[in-house]
């Protein structure tokens, strides 16, 4: 039997020995825990915002949430996960894509790095694109069975034990974010070992839709998503909008509102009204040269140039 994360924490607390005095306010998640009776503890932040120190030996990894657990559809209470992608830092290394693929046992590129060029006269740029986890998601709206759903913590997930494979969500997503398991997915045994959860996105199932899941399993454990950790240039920031803080893989933490204000953050194709949870910082003062091979036109381009093969798919 699987237990939900909440129950896991409760059971640890009920153990008594685990609680080693709650530190005063202002103490953030410390890197090192206290030592009680010679035993190492780990600071744990409860979903209610209380900080506990738990004996390391008594800790268990947060169990994966079964698709039927209500928390899978509700999300992590009090959170609003958000992503910021700094286009000025992206060198097009695609380490994010590789890490995401590896950790999700897939080759489907849930996060893709496009080479964009908005107009003939403007500079090309690399454009990492995960799922935008829109606040007004066109995909969840059209799902006939609620297999894809929007959570209170902002994340859009897919339950591949419910998905009927009609692919309406793929037709509805304006960003071509979703992938379909056209055949039986070839995944290693590890993908199946821990049981399926929509919060982790594997193992994949034949005849169902999958996509970037914003790594709620990582967020719940206090870790950054795989793509964020893997980026050597700190392009991708991840965090909680309610905390107004985002952190990248280099450990740089910024105030979200300040970052968006100072760097003129924007959301991709705002005019579609989907309200993405992913913000972009324009490629101003870029740290790396622009992609010189980029010859593709983004949606905002005035018109396609057939001479360069644009518009002719």
């Amino acid at each position: 039997m699987r237990i939900s994360r909440r129950e896991a924490i409760k059971s640890v607390l009920a153990g008594g020995t685990a609680v080693a005095g709650v530190s005063g306010a202002g103490v953030a998640l410390a890197r090192v825990g206290l030592t009680v009776n010679g035993k190492e503890t780990v600071p744990v932040l409860s979903p209610e915002g209380e900080l506990f120190h738990v004996l390391r030996e008594q800790m268990k990894a947060a169990p994966v949430n079964d698709p039927k657990d209500p928390i899978v559809r509700e999300g992590i209470p009090g959170r609003k996960w958000v992503m910021v992608i700094d286009l000025a830092r992206c060198a097009g290394l695609r380490k994010c894509t590789a890490a995401c693929n590896a950790m999700h046992f897939t080759d489907r590129n849930w996060i893709q790095v496009f080479e964009m060029k908005d107009a003939n006269a403007t500079a090309p740029y690399y454009f990492p694109k995960p799922c935008f986890h829109c606040d007004s998601p066109p995909c969840t709206k059209v799902c006939p069975v609620g297999a894809t759903f929007k959570r209170q913590d902002g994340i859009v997930l897919i339950d591949n034990t419910r998905c009927i494979g009609c692919r309406f969500c793929m037709a509805a997503c304006p960003y071509s974010t979703r992938h379909f398991n056209w055949g039986a997915p070839q995944q290693p045994p590890e993908a199946h070992a821990r049981g399926y959860s929509p919060e982790r996105g594997f193992a994949a199932r034949k005849g169902t839709v999958e996509k970037c899941d914003f790594c709620p399993d990582m967020a719940a454990a206090g870790n950054l998503p795989h793509c964020v950790q893997a980026c050597p240039n700190g392009v991708i920031f991840y965090g909680d909008e309610n905390e107004d803080a985002v952190t990248n893989g280099l450990g740089e933490t910024y105030r979200l509102s300040t970052l968006l204000e100072e760097r003129a953050g924007y959301r991709f194709m705002e005019e579609l009204g989907t309200k993405p949870r992913v913000y972009y910082l324009p490629p101003k003062n870029r740290r790396f040269p622009a992609p010189d091979t980029a010859g593709q036109t983004a949606s905002t381009a005035p018109s396609p140039d057939p001479a360069r093969g644009e518009g002719l798919a």
Binding site: V142, V145, A171, Y175, W182, Q296, S299, T300
Partner: protein, 460 residues
């Protein structure tokens, strides 16, 4: 009381029974061929179930393809029945009478084949019950499920209720002619004890008149919500306000063409020239002509606004559809042969009018399938972020599995239709007889022979 074979409906029934004789060798050849195609399609589907949708040409960019085109096409021609038997009934177009039964049968079989296309398109058909268990009414797919099942149930009921007096008649005729006992039993059972007393006829008329009025908005809703599966998304070429009426007109257009083609086949195969006259073809031809002009108008509205407005992604779509690329020639062929040629074939004076009409009907049917394909696939190949930005070049052409299943769908449709015509009277005997009986009612005092002469003069 006169013996049944001396009444007007008895005589018509006698002629209709002739159409229900076992298939001729040529008919058997066709049946055999169609069964082989259907079985091959069943094998292809089994293969798809085993391997997954990977055996189709659909991929992440073009995630809907031929199956969806088939779906829209078949649901489209299902509008034949409603047009003929409901719209023409409500407008008192008396000439509709011999066509109603075959038109309603098209509706039923087209709906069955069309709806099964959606199931064939599903990645997890084993989870079909989720559509009911976890139904979300916010999804246009649920609107489709509700609308199409209502239409199917309504059309079945409409077909059946109109057939009740024919069933009572056929039970008598089948008994007298010593037809197979299962026929007598079946017809008797389906006639549910109908006796043509004035009271029962009145009740039947009221039911049919009521259902004719109810079924029209249901039919309109069906193709409207089919169009909404596309137009409720944000995709260029789909997200269009005129899609509802555009699809409804397209459905009636292809439905009319389908009924003209079916009439021609039945007329030839079953020698029904006496009932399916030049006048019927002429009137339906005029309808087809008018519909083609309306469809041209809608098509112009749809693409001119996209092109003139010039939103970049819509411009890319128009470029793909009408440029020199892969779809340009197809679109041109579609527009010329399916939209502009049919009205010319029908409308121009001169010889070969019948042949020209049938050619037009066949062209319209082929082209309306192609038109649906050109609505679905090029839009899927034109996402907001061009596929080329991901170094991909989606170029969809159906795989052998998709083609096999498509041909099988047409074969199954034809088979259902052929077997229906062998079990049930393909002409609505009662409906044809009614006005003739009214004419002769004044001559009731005369002999049976005089009546017969009158009737044959009126029928032929």
């Amino acid at each position: 009381m006169k013996p049944i074979e001396h009444t007007i409906r008895g005589r018509i029934a006698g002629e209709v029974v002739e159409t229900m004789r076992p298939f001729t060798p040529r008919g058997q050849f066709w049946i055999g061929t169609l069964i082989v195609i259907a079985l091959w399609g069943a094998f292809a589907y089994a293969w798809q179930l085993y391997k997954g949708l990977v055996v189709t040409s659909m991929r992440d960019y073009v995630s809907w393809g031929t199956y969806m085109s088939n779906f829209v096409f078949f649901i489209g021609i299902s509008h034949a029945g409603t047009l003929i038997s409901a719209i023409l009934r409500v407008t008192h177009a008396e000439w509709r009478r011999p066509i109603t039964r075959m038109a309603e049968a098209i509706t039923i079989f087209a709906l069955v084949v069309g709806a099964s296309m959606v199931i064939i398109d599903m990645g997890r058909p084993d989870r079909i019950m989720n559509v009911i268990i976890h139904a979300r009414l916010q999804s246009p797919i649920l609107w489709d499920v509700c609308s199409i099942t209502t239409y199917l149930a309504g059309s079945l009921l409409y077909l059946y209720v109109a057939m009740i007096p024919d069933m009572a008649l056929m039970a008598t005729v089948a008994e007298k002619r010593n037809l197979r006992p299962w026929r007598v039993k079946l017809y008797k059972m389906l006639s549910i004890g109908f006796v043509p007393t004035p009271d029962q006829i009145r009740r039947l008329d009221i039911s049919l008149a009521t259902m004719a009025v109810i079924i029209i908005p249901v039919a309109v809703s069906v193709h409207t919500v089919v169009s909404w599966v596309f137009s409720m998304t944000l995709r260029p070429g789909w997200h269009s306000t005129i899609f509802g009426p555009y699809f409804v007109i397209g459905a009636i257009y292809s439905g009319t063409a389908a009924i003209i083609f079916a009439m021609a086949l039945f007329q030839k195969a079953y020698h029904l020239e006496k009932y399916l006259t030049r006048e019927h073809f002429h009137k339906l031809g005029l309808l087809l002509l008018a519909l083609s002009i309306i469809y041209i108008y809608f098509t112009l509205c749809e693409y001119l606004t996209a092109w003139y407005g010039g939103v970049s992604v819509e411009q890319r779509l128009v470029q793909l559809l009408m440029g020199a690329g892969r779809y340009g020639p197809l679109f041109l062929a579609m527009a010329l042969s399916g939209l502009f040629l049919p009205p010319l074939l029908i409308g121009l004076p001169g010889r070969w009018k019948f042949q020209r009409l049938i050619t037009a009907a066949v062209l319209v049917n082929i082209v309306m399938w192609l038109k649906r394909h050109l609505i679905i696939v090029p839009t899927m190949e034109t996402p907001y972020i061009p596929a080329t930005a991901a170094q991909q070049h989606p170029a969809y052409f159906p795989s052998w599995v998709e083609l096999s299943i498509t041909f099988a769908a047409f074969a199954v449709f034809a088979l259902l239709y052929m077997f229906f015509s062998k079990v049930f009277p393909i002409l609505s005997i009662t409906e044809i007889a009614e006005p003739l009986e009214e004419i002769t009612a004044g001559h009731e005092t005369g002999t049976d022979d005089r009546t017969t002469i009158m009737v044959e003069g009126a029928v032929s």
